[in-house]
Structures are given as C-alpha cells and as structure tokens.
Symmetry: D2
Subunit: 292 residues, 4 copies
C-alpha cells in the first residue's frame, strides 16, 4: 500500500521504519529536511512536500503539537487541496478542542480521520510494541489495522469521536507524570532519612508497582540520570498543560495535575526542560535542599 508519513522526530522515525519493514511504499516528509535520510537509505521515498506525502492512500502524521499540525496541514492548505488519502491517522497528542476542529475539517474535505495517539517511548516504538489509542470510524480503523499491527503490540478502540482518544492519552500522561512526581518525592523522603532511593525502587517495582513506569523512571531518579531524555520534561509539561486545559474545559479540578505542572515549570526554570521527565526527582531533591 502507498503510505505517507509526516513528522520524523524520534518517535516518527521509529514508527515509519516499522511501516517500511512491512513492505509498504512509504513516502516520508519532515519539516526540517535532514531527518529522512536514514529512512531513504532503507527504501523510503522522500516526498517533496507535505502535500505529496498526503497523496498516499493512508497518511500518518506525528507532529509536535496543535500548532505544528495546524501549520503543516491546515494553514498550508494541504488538507483542503488534497482530499486524496483514504485516511489520515494523526498520532500527535493534541488538545481535545483541536481534535474536534480537526475532525470537522476532515469531514468537510471528505478525508477519513482517525486520532491515534500512542503510548511508549522511542525504544518501544522501534520495537513495534506501542499501545495505540485509536478513535474514529470503526470501518476506517479496521482498514488500517494491518498498519497498526506493524507498529504496535495492541490497538485500543476508543470510540468514533477522535477527541476521545486524545482525552484518554492526556489522562494517561497526567497519571504518568503524577507517578514520576510521587517517585521524586518518595525518593527525597527516604534519602533524607539515610536510605538509598534505589532500595525503595527495588521494593516497589517488585511488589505494588511492577511495570515500566515505576521501575523505569524510579531507576533513573535513583541513579540521578536525567539524560539522554526518552520523554523530555518540556513535552511532559505540554501534555500536563493540555490535560489541565481539558479539565478546565469540562470543569474538572485536577489538584495533583497542578502540582506536577508547578514542578515541571520549576525544572524548566533551572534549565532542565530538555532532560528526561525523571528530572522531577531533581526538583524534589532541590526543594529539600539535597541538590548540590
């Protein structure tokens, strides 16, 4: 199948590579031109424009945020001029309000639209083990399921309205960031009482809190290893901001989300925005006077 792919950051590149391995004719495009070369070496066609990538039967996009999606697909006229793809699969974590606008705009252009934000860091994407939250017309999701199967371990159907997948993604990332904040606070607490945070992490990740989050971020916090970033603090802040906005829109106070937001801004203020979300551990340590 002829497949387009727009947005080749660390997540996008990894996903695109797996689509390519599946034997599809892949047309890739990125805003900054250097990114696609590795994919080209692997057999991908480099599109001359977003518009060309949008001429495929199914086009995926993995752009940074609302503004990037708006700039590349809407303001540019790409969506309106095109009308060609049978389906556009938007993997970005966008705001629910923008998700609704996107759904409407695609409807007007008669392009099938599926919101498909994913869970997983770049290494998970590379291993084709993503969890995919897919919302849109069931028939469209069914049609692209073989493509999802090339890039993820599981597709979670989230209903017909695309915004729902985005709300779920935001709720999950809110919980993820809250878990990392709680790891940071607990690590600072035990450290202040003379206990190595690594001991705490070993216990919890082998008892109450198995799975990738507590063991993974907990291990980074215990080791005070905040780079390289698999999930940058600045991107986590973006997601928490969107979650809080989705809460405000629906009138849901999220006090724990507010705490996480403040801690992430603290990290930004100390120049740590490009470090891993685990840097919340450093914020907690600094509050406790433990940071050198």
């Amino acid at each position: 199948m002829k497949v387009g792919f727009i947005g080749l950051g660390s997540m996008g590149s990894a996903i695109a590579a797996n689509l390519l391995k599946g034997g599809h004719e892949l047309w890739v495009w990125n805003r900054s031109p250097q990114a696609p070369q590795r994919l080209a070496d692997a057999g991908a066609h480099i599109a001359a424009s977003a518009e060309q990538a949008f001429e495929a039967e199914v086009v995926f996009s993995m752009l940074a945020d609302d503004a990037a999606v708006r700039a590349v697909l809407l303001d540019s006229g790409v969506l309106e001029r095109s009308g060609k793809p049978r389906a556009h699969i938007n993997m970005a974590t966008v705001s629910p309000a923008f998700a609704e606008e996107l759904a409407e705009r695609h409807r007007a252009c008669e392009v099938d639209y599926v919101a498909a934000p994913v869970m997983g860091r770049p290494d998970v994407a590379a291993a084709a083990k993503l969890n995919i939250l897919a919302a849109g017309p069931a028939s469209v999701i069914a049609r692209v399921q073989p493509l999802f199967d090339l890039i993820g371990q599981k597709t979670w159907p989230c209903g017909e309205q695309p915004a729902r997948a985005n709300v779920l993604k935001l709720a999950i990332n809110l919980m993820l960031a809250a878990a990392v904040e709680s790891l940071g606070e607990a690590a600072a607490l035990v450290d202040a009482h003379g206990i190595a945070p690594a001991a705490l992490i070993e216990i919890i990740s082998n008892s109450l809190f198995p799975g990738p989050v507590y063991g993974g971020y907990g291990g980074l916090i215990a080791a005070q290893r905040y780079e390289p970033a698999a999930f940058k603090a600045v991107l986590a802040l973006k997601d928490v901001r969107l979650a809080l906005a989705a809460g405000e829109q629906a009138r849901v106070p999220l006090p724990m989300g507010s705490v996480v937001r403040d801690s992430l801004i603290d990290a930004m203020a100390h120049g740590d925005g490009d470090k891993d979300l685990a840097v919340l551990g450093l914020v907690s340590a600094r509050r406790a006077g433990q940071a050198v």
Copy 2:
C-alpha cells in the same frame, strides 16, 4: 516454637492464622476480647494479657498506631517487666520518631526488636503473600525468617535501624495514596468528556500500569464501589500524615502528599472515612460536580 501475637484486627488475624498453620504454639491477645475466638477454634491459645503473650520466644504485634503501641506495650509496663521474648516483631506502621524511641526502649530492656511493616491488604495477608519490610539486627531477622516465610511471599531487608523500615513503608503508602488520587482525577477527567472510566482503567492496567494498585483501586473507582473497605480512608490519612511528618522532620516538602492529605480530609468531612481509599475517586467527582 512458642509465638505470641498481639493485635487481631483484620490484618493481624489473617497473619496469625498463617503462623498457626505453620505448626507453632501460638498465644494470641487482643484489646477487645471477642476477636480471638476464630483463632482459638483453630488451635491458638488465648493469652490472659498482653504480658502473657509477651512471654513467647518471638512475639509479633500488629497494633493500629503509635498511640496503641505506646498504650499496650510501654505505658502498661509490659515491655519492661517482660524481657522474656527473644524477639519482638512490630508490624505496625508507626512514625519514624516513635520507631527510634521503641528501638531504644527495647535495647534498654534487652529485647531484640525488629520493625516489620507489611505491604498487602487483608486478602493478601490471608494468602500469605505479604511483602515484609524488615529492619533490625541481621541475626534476629535471620532467626525469625522461617516465621516471615509462613506469612509473606518476600522479606525485604531494610538495614539494622528499625526506623528505616517504617520510613520505607510510609514512602510506599504515600506513593500508593498518590496513585489512587491520580486515578480519581483521571477518572473524573475522562468521565467529564463522555468516556467511561472503566475504559481508562482497562487500558492502563494492561499497559503502563500493571499490578495490583492501578487495576485494583482503578476498578473500584470505575465501579464507584467504596465498600467494603480493604484499606480504610481514615487509615490511609494516618499514613499520609505520618509521611508528611517524617518529611517535615527531615525538611522534605512533599506537595503531592499535601494534595492527597487534603483530599482524604475532604472524604472524612463527608462521612467517608471508613470507606475504602478508593473513595478518593468520589472526592474528585464531587469537586467536578459529578457526584449526585
């Protein structure tokens, strides 16, 4: 071996029953007299006083809080008069400050002392699947290890100073309560956007957040089922209060802990203190105007 057991609430009874199954001569005592009958039927001896239970080689205690331990063992003179047991294993979640006082008092009376708070609800205790955080002299822990093996799936050595096991327990329960608060907030968020919280819980407990906490408490929140309580809100508030005090003592701000504390007090104010910790979901829903 002759084993004593003081404190037969839902956790204590379940643990004592497993010691009994191990073939030990068990002497049990409870402050309110009705509790031990089921254990007596199973072969336990009912001690006439805490002091008599304290005459065993090893005595376990599972009392509610600092005040209960102080009343039963210190103010009563039981510890001082006794001196008999080769080891006292205190499973209660007490404050680190009191843990240090207890260690000192036991040293003065030449009674070996081990702090051994546990992780697990009563059903986990009944299944002998507890995780045990044990701190105290390594030789004493080694001696009672066969008893720990009868009641838990794993013993985590936490060092020689008993208070460390208590700090770790508080840090873990802080994280547990924070996770449940984040579940409540996330559930309110998706619910306000027309998504069943159960869908959120199914996704996260099968992806980022496997294990008993997110699936268990998340399931209760999604079902709005807050009774019967396996871990009462009022007891969770006690633990969070102790964690915050341990933080203040060591000068560690815990802003997420503060949020959880406020939500738990909100639950208490609405008469829900005896409901399960999952009632934090109801607090989030009420804040969002979703509660009927």
Copy 3:
C-alpha cells in the same frame, strides 16, 4: 476633546459616563447594540461602528479578553484602516503575550498605544476612584492624563512597554484571588470550631488586614452572599489563568495560584461561575462538608 469608547459592559459604562461628565465629545460603541442608550441619554454620540468610534483623537477600549480585542480591533481591520486616533488606551486585562503583539501592531499602524488596566469594581469606577496602571510612551500618558484624572483617583506609571501594566494587573489579581481563597479557608476553619466567620472578619479587617479586599470579600463570605457579583468568579478564573500562563511563559511556578485555579474550577463545576469571587468561601465550606 473628541473621545471614543469601545466596550460598554458594567465597567466600561461607568468609566464612559465619567468621561462624559468631564465635558468631552464622547463617541461610544458596543458589540451588542442595546448597551449605550443610557449614555446616549446623557449626551454621548452612538457610533455606527467600532471604526467610527476609532476616529476620535483618543479612543478607550474596555473589552472582555484577548479574543474580544482581537475580534473587534484586529481581525476586523479597524486598527489598520484607521490610523486616525492620536492614542488608543486599552483598559482590558489581556495576556502579556497579546499585549506585546498589540503594541507591535499599533506601532506598525502609527497609532499611539497605552495599556491601562484598572483596579476597582464597577461601583469604584462609577465613583471615579479607579487605580489606573498605565504603560506606554510617557508623552502619550502625559497627554491623556487629564482623561485618566476624570475616571480614577490615581494613575500608576508602569514603564514604556505596555505589557508591563498587564503583568502587574495579573499579579495583583492573582494576589486578590489568593486573599479571597485564604478568607474562605479561614472562615471554614473557624466555623468548624464553632466561631462565626463574621467575628474573624471583624478582627482582621480592623487590625492586620484593613482595606477593601479583606473587609469586602470577607463580609460577603461571612454573610454567604455571593450575588449580585461585582467580580464574577468566571472572570477571576480568566485572570488567574492568564497569570499562570504569564508565569509559565517566564518559568515561574505559582503553587498558590494553582490552588486558586482549582477552587475556581470547582465553583464553575457547581454552577457558580456567574457568582461573585467570594463564592470561593462556598467552595471551602463544601470541601469541609459544611455546605447544605
């Protein structure tokens, strides 16, 4: 002098009336047509369009928020086509980012621009007792000072960059909302201990906290009188949201601001957005189970 006035809500009408009393030729315009009649009766000219009001020597605008200013003055082309007024005085509380954009757009059109957000409720505006935060070219502010003197008791010069007046306004409203939240919490605390909140308010407003805020909002909270609204909760939430955004933009965590935001969303969720900011007292009471 020929003066224009755009935006005739409760604040705008009161201010415009005072300019009229000063003997100026006032041209007023409002988005919804019914508002200006009372002013017309008092001698104001009703402009046929925002553009006509913008033909005056000095034009004031008092619009609801960023979006309203953008719609009325920018997207409409009013600012670009005009170029006529010697000065535009923007009294709205807008975001610092938009304030900078506005300054730039006015510069490009060669229209003098002054940001002049005000402090004071509608009754203060009617009494010409506003405090005016004025930022823009000093010569322009000097030129319009006689007009400011007709509507306010004091003009505070805030520098040449218009955005600074907006940042100051947001910082002040953040403190105002925080003070009202603290009044609500303190009232709930004393009430729960059997003390009438009115007693607390009497003491503090005659000792540590004189002035309009603690006495005024405190009195409303003690009387549980949340209507009519002099400063609506929904507008306070807008200002707090802008303050938090200004904080995030400059990387300043504002944890107290986050608490106020959550409480205001709680008020919104309970249908109290159009009540007075004092309704934060009801939010505190509800959290404490005191609200009927």
Copy 4:
C-alpha cells in the same frame, strides 16, 4: 497589683516592660536566666522559680509552644501546687486541643484561665499596640482589662471557651502566611517579566492592600531583606502546622495552608528557618531559578 510574667523572649520582654510602666509590682521568670536583667534594671522583681511568679494575683505567660507550656506549668506541678493567682493569662499560640486541656486543668485547680494570644510583632508589642484575642470567663477578662490596656491597643472578646481565641489566632496567622506566600509568588512573577517587585508593592500597599502585612512583608521581599527576623519562618511553620492540625481535627481541608507549609519547609531545608517569614519570597525566587 502584683503581677507575674513567665517567658521573656522578644515578645514577652516587650509586653512585660509595658506592664511595669503601668506601675505594677512585676515578678518575672524565664527558663534561661539571662533574659530578665533589663527588666530588673527597670524595677521588676526576678522570681526564683516559675512557681514564685505564679504566686501573683494575675500571672501572664508567653511561652513558645504547647511543649513549653506543658513543661513549665503542668509537668512541673506549678499549676497544681499553686492555686494562688486569681487569673492566668496565657498569651502563647497553642493548639486548640491543648487549649481545651489547659482550660480543664485550670478548672480542676480553681485558677481562672484566659487564653489571650496577640497579634503584632515585637516592635508593636513595645509600642503597646498589640491586638489581643481574649477568651475566657467575661468577669475575669473584665478584671484584667486594665492590664490588657497597658499592652495593647484593642482587646477582642472571643467568647468563654479559651480554645476559640487560639483557633482565631491560628486562622489569622494562616491568612498572614498565605498573604506572604502570595507576595512572594507575585514578586517572582513580575520580576521575571522585568518589573521591579518594589513597584508592585508600592501600588498594592497604596490601593487594594493597605495595612502592615502587604506593605511590611512586601517591602522586605522587594528588598530581599530577610534578617533580622521579626517573625521567624520556623515559628510561622509552627503556627501553620497547628492551623492544619486544627483543620484536620475538625475535618476542614486547607489547600492553601498546605502550599504555605511546603514552602516553609523548603525554607527550613535551605537553612533559612531563623530568617523572617518574608523569606518565602526567596523560596518563590528559587523555584523560578531567580535566586543566585
């Protein structure tokens, strides 16, 4: 009249000096012996023991906290042995729970008991301008009113139950600390946008927020002058802790109080506990990466 005075810190000394100026026979006592000399030079008698000071007709005490009052008056047996004074006026900020215990203990010993916590820093005490919150039997308060008039500008009757004066004092100090936190956050916000905090303080203290708190603490924050301390951060933390405990006891969540508590612990963690409460401004600045 023969008057006793126990507790001669900076507040106690200033108050005692004013009682002395009123022509009373003053018997003073302090736990550390050096304090009273300046008072002795001014004519005060130095009591050999707390018990001797307690032999006066009316005895004031101004001790640090619950523990100090308990140690000096209860555990020592001073209250029980004495029975001599016609009234004991306790000016300390103690917990409501302890206030109730004290009332009961005094009743048992037939000593009239009045709780009379005060508002004002040491310089206010020296100027005899304190605000006195007095709770206890009306007849006793009437009897000691001439003494109150020597030390304060105003006595606020708070009812017959002593604990009420303490609850009011805690609610007021909670609001005070919240106001200072909001000053710190607002100062950090404007500073990050290039505006001198002093400009903000000048505006608000001459408009919305007149009075000693915003002008006083705001001035200290703007000047980054945290020493000498008129109200130490560590003592403010004590009061906030008592307020939160009084809230928990009566089931009142105080989220803004929780934020202040966390910020004060942050100050303690950075070695600033003995600096003025205004050091909350430094905490806000540090969170924003502004502190050097």
